[in-house]
């Protein structure tokens, strides 16, 4: 067991982990931050995307010990201070960008990272960026629409409905 210390959602967090413990498991099992989901075992689905030092990272591709000293943000930190949905989250609700909700935390974290680097992406750029986030419910239509709307772009002409 190794002790790791990191900042998670602005607060100091620590725990004893095995060398093989993934960051995703550390967040879920040690810190009980269960908003980060695990949907596969080959780092394909993106349900576990979090931000590590400001970068989008699949928390199943990183060992907890690798995140020692890092600044980690999870879906639980994304809402506004008063608990209301932030711009991206609100756009997902407004445009029905989620159904079962399981991929949603990863989608929101990825979208947030995308818009930080590319505040006005094209549709093609959004679709390309989401290559590492799989959704089985929405067919992506409304996810892409939500992210375009969150970037402040007019989505009324993207497609009928």
């Amino acid at each position: 067991m190794t002790q790791v210390k990191m900042t998670v959602n602005g607060k100091a967090a620590s725990g004893d982990v095995e060398g093989r413990t993934l960051l995703a498991s550390f967040l879920r099992d040690n810190l009980k931050l269960t908003g980060t989901h695990i949907g596969c075992d080959t780092s394909q689905c993106g349900a576990c995307v979090v931000h590590v030092n400001g970068e989008a990272v699949k928390a199943c591709t990183m060992l907890a010990v690798e995140a020692d000293g890092a600044d980690v943000k999870t879906i639980e930190s994304m809402a506004n201070a008063d608990g209301s949905l932030n711009t991206i989250q609100q756009a997902f609700q407004d445009h029905h960008g989620l159904q079962c909700g399981f991929c949603t935390p990863g989608m929101v974290m990825s979208a947030s990272a995308l818009l930080k680097d590319n505040p006005k992406p094209t549709v093609a750029e959004v679709r390309h960026y989401l290559d590492g986030n799989i959704c089985r419910c929405t067919g992506y239509h409304n996810i892409v629409k939500a992210i375009m709307a969150a970037s402040g772009q007019d989505v009324s002409a993207l497609a009928a409905e």
Binding site: C40, C45, A79, Q99, F102, P105, R136, Y140, K145, A159
Partner: protein, 787 residues
């Protein structure tokens, strides 16, 4: 103007708030005090004799609590099958025993052999590696047609063969159908494969078993679409636990698509082991395990033929299908290629004579069961590919041939035992031609050709049977369950109310759409209504969510219960208003006396029900809570027409979906936003099947597509924006909401349009191959173009 609430409003989903903030409560988020973890050692070969399972070394490993093998479950029941098919000779299907843990033999890669319960998942996994298996390999049975040949290796030694059943429908029509083919002016024949798929809800399955020794109460938390069904199947048939000592909870569930309907071994194991170990036992599936155990979908091999007269009218249809059951019969597996498939073979057409033969076959593969659409996509794909082929053979327009043969009068009794109540196939085709901008296709094709690409346009129609189903009918067809739904409506003293429904929401948005219905009925805000679902302890016995049935059946139960509430509330109101009950009207959340200005608010009536000081206690009981069970009198029949437009690169064989348009008739609609979202998701799965997804075994029974590295899940860049319209509405005539169901349409209606479009593109490039099997991958297209 869009409504801002009630039926017809695109109310935003209330469940989104918790999902968007990481506060969902999925089964894997549940951790019980003192829980242990189970890891299953699974077979890595498809077929073999299990000579011994040596756990002695593993038992000494750190953290091990207890190790179970098949021998521990000899006295436990078989995982049951919920549907019995009677074959064309009047014999019941062959039904093998399905053990919780393999015993004596292993029959597919992934079958659980031993289960290690340990203090941590890592310790359980480590110990499982120390279990020594002695297995004698047997030849794997993979190809269905080989499997039913005389002398083939048997998957189950105690069955007479690998043939589960040989079903003929309608057997009495066979002679007339064959005669019509002899007399046909033209016969079109098509052989095709409906590719095996994996449902892949993004949340892998999880089961947490708990047992209270002091009371003898069992609790199972599980990722299920139908917790009451699991309680009944597992309690009554596997573990022998009566319902009142077994609670099954399916909290937030991350997608189902059919594969979370079924009762699985891991649920029974965790329930059993929690008692045996006297502590909670948790299992979380990895995605790799999900590929190897969650029931797969489709996997039909079919030959279909259409007979036409000299005027191109369809005169008869016959189809022969081999349907893969896998190694065991999953919960509803036998019903999928039969009653959910054969009854849909008329499609949208007035073909007078139809005969369907289905041979269901055991193989050394993962069991196959219902996946979004379940039988209806298989029927639609065959029929709509065949009709297109007819048109091209006859040199007529595929849409005109369809229109010519459309059913236009309703109700319509098909020759395959169902009666469509309503529909308007001309209207949805007209709408499709409009929204797909068919008129502009020629110019778009020209633009593609200028870039060196080929462009194709394909259409199909579909009909489905949803809202399953009249219990007495399905009982005659072999269902071992009723298929009603239930709702309890509990009104609170201050007027808010809770609906406890047997339906289960795992992405469909019931928590938002169901309150819209009651808000409309009573005239109160939606936020006064809460939906409770997913827990057998606080919902009435219900059959759950699948087959696009929730609103049509569960919603109808809720309407019936609410009608009882309103009837009683009117009695109370008439007392309070000192008026005749017959004169009381409910509007906008207030009861009034017709023709007067006397009224009493909803909240005053509900308060009176619970504080009955001024109350007709001699006539009616206090309180305001009602339950209704709704058993539908028929299926519902959503229908529509879809168009796909593809661009094909002849250099690489790569196909892109440029446009996809869907014109659906779902009857009345409660929340258009949610309905559109359901269609989007279905389309993505149908397009995925047509272009990308394929679950593949090699001849040894090794699953070659067992991860997201190998199984091509559609990504955002693989799919287009969709054009979806559901303005054509012919309401269902037999349920109180006039609704039909929308959850599966997209997956049912889209694969043939995609393949028809690809073939159209190839023809425009001078290559007419007649048919190409799904998935239409670049390799297959390139090979066909260069054949």
């Amino acid at each position: 103007m869009p409504k801002d609430g009630g039926i017809g409003a695109s109310s935003k989903r209330r469940e989104d708030i918790r999902f968007l903030t990481g506060e969902g409560n999925y089964t894997d988020d549940i951790n019980l005090h003192g829980q242990a973890y189970v890891f299953f050692l699974r077979s890595d070969i498809a077929h073999g004799i299990l000579n011994s399972v040596d756990t002695s070394a593993a038992e000494t490993m750190p953290g091990v609590v207890k190790i179970f093998t098949g021998a521990d479950f000899e006295a436990v029941g078989s995982i049951p099958c919920g549907w019995q098919i009677t074959d064309k000779h009047g014999e019941v299907m062959q039904e093998p025993r399905h053990p919780v843990l393999a015993h004596g033999k292993v029959r597919h890669v992934g079958e659980p052999i031993a289960a290690v319960v340990a203090e941590s998942l890592a310790e359980a996994r480590d110990a499982a590696e120390a279990i020594v298996l002695d297995i004698t390999d047997l030849p794997a049975v993979i190809n269905m047609k080989e499997a039913v040949k005389e002398g083939a290796t048997k998957v189950h030694d105690d069955l007479t063969s690998n043939l589960c059943y040989d079903w003929g429908f309608v057997e009495e029509n066979k002679g007339a159908v064959d005669k019509a083919f002899e007399e046909a002016h033209h016969v079109t024949t098509l052989e095709l494969v409906n590719n095996r798929l994996v449902a892949n809800p993004m949340e892998p399955r999880v089961a947490v078993g708990d047992y209270a020794r002091g009371t003898g109460d069992h609790t199972l938390y599980t990722t299920s679409q139908n917790p009451h069904v699991i309680r009944l199947l597992m309690g009554a048939f596997v573990l022998g636990i009566p319902e009142h000592k077994l609670r099954v909870v399916a909290p937030d569930v991350g997608g189902g698509f059919g594969t979370k309907i079924f009762h699985y071994q891991e649920e029974a194991f965790c329930t059993f082991a929690a008692k045996a170990c006297n502590r909670p036992v948790k299992w979380t599936s990895s995605r790799s395990e999900a590929f190897m155990l969650d029931a797969h979908g489709r996997d039909h091999v079919t030959k279909i033929q259409m007979a036409l007269d000299k005027d191109n009218n369809f005169t008869a249809l016959r189809t022969d299908t081999y349907a893969n059951m896998g190694a065991y019969l999953s919960t509803f597996a036998p019903s999928v290629p039969t009653w959910l498939h054969g009854t849909l073979m008329a499609g949208n057409y007035k073909t007078p004579l139809i005969y369907v033969n289905v041979k269901a076959v055991f193989t050394n593969t993962v069991p196959v069961d219902a996946y979004r659409g379940a039988g209806r996509p298989e029927a639609t794909y065959q029929l709509e590919r065949l009709v297109d082929k007819c048109a091209h053979e006859l040199g007529v327009d595929p849409i005109a041939l369809r229109r010519q043969n459309f059913i236009t009068e309703f109700p319509y009794a098909t020759p395959v035992a169902v009666e469509y109540d309503t529909g308007d196939y001309v209207a949805t085709m007209d709408k499709l031609e409009e929204i797909s901008d068919m008129a502009g296709f020629a110019a778009r094709r020209k633009a593609s050709e200028a870039k060196g690409k080929l462009r194709g346009f394909g259409v199909n129609c579909y009909i489905e049977a949803c809202g399953i189903a009249p219990s007495n009918l399905v009982g005659q067809l072999g269902a071992r369950a009723g298929l009603y739904e239930s709702a309890t409506v509990r009104v609170n003293a201050t007027g808010g109310l809770v609906v406890m429904t047997g339906s289960h929401s795992h992405g469909q948005g019931h928590e938002t759409s169901f309150p819209q219905v009651i808000a409309e009925m009573i005239g109160i805000p939606e936020d006064m209504i809460e939906i409770v679902h997913g827990d057998t302890a606080n919902t009435p016995m219900g059959m759950g969510t699948y087959g696009s049935r929730s609103l049509a059946v569960g919603g109808s139960a809720m309407v019936r219960a609410t009608e009882k509430i309103i009837a009683k509330a009117k009695k109370i109101a008439s007392h309070l208003l000192e008026a005749s009950e017959g004169d009381i009207e409910l509007k906008d959340g207030a009861f009034s006396v017709a023709g007067t200005d006397k009224s009493v608010a909803w909240g005053d009536v509900t308060l009176a029900a619970y504080v009955p000081h001024n109350y007709p206690l001699e006539d009616i009981e206090p309180g305001l809570e009602e339950t209704a069970f709704y058993d539908p009198s028929n299926f519902t029949y959503p229908s529509g027409a879809y168009a796909c437009e593809v661009e094909l690169d002849p250099e690489t064989g790569h196909v892109t979906i440029e446009r996809f348009s869907a014109a659906d008739d779902f009857g009345n609609i409660v929340n258009p936003m949610i309905v559109t979202g359901q269609v989007h998701g279905g389309l993505a799965q149908g397009i995925g099947q047509a272009l990308m997804e394929n679950c593949t075994y090699d001849s040894d029974g090794q699953l070659l597509s067992a991860s997201y590295m190998d199984y091509a899940m559609p990504r955002a860049s693989d799919l287009p924006f969709y054009t979806v319209d559901h303005s054509c509405q012919t309401p269902c005539t037999h349920n109180p909401l006039g609704v039909k169901g929308c959850g599966e349409a997209g997956a049912i209606g889209s694969p043939p349009a995609v393949v028809n479009a690809v073939l159209d593109a190839m023809r425009s490039g001078g290559k007419d191959v007649g048919h190409i099997d799904m998935p239409v991958t670049p390799a297959r297209v390139w090979a066909a173009m260069n054949s």
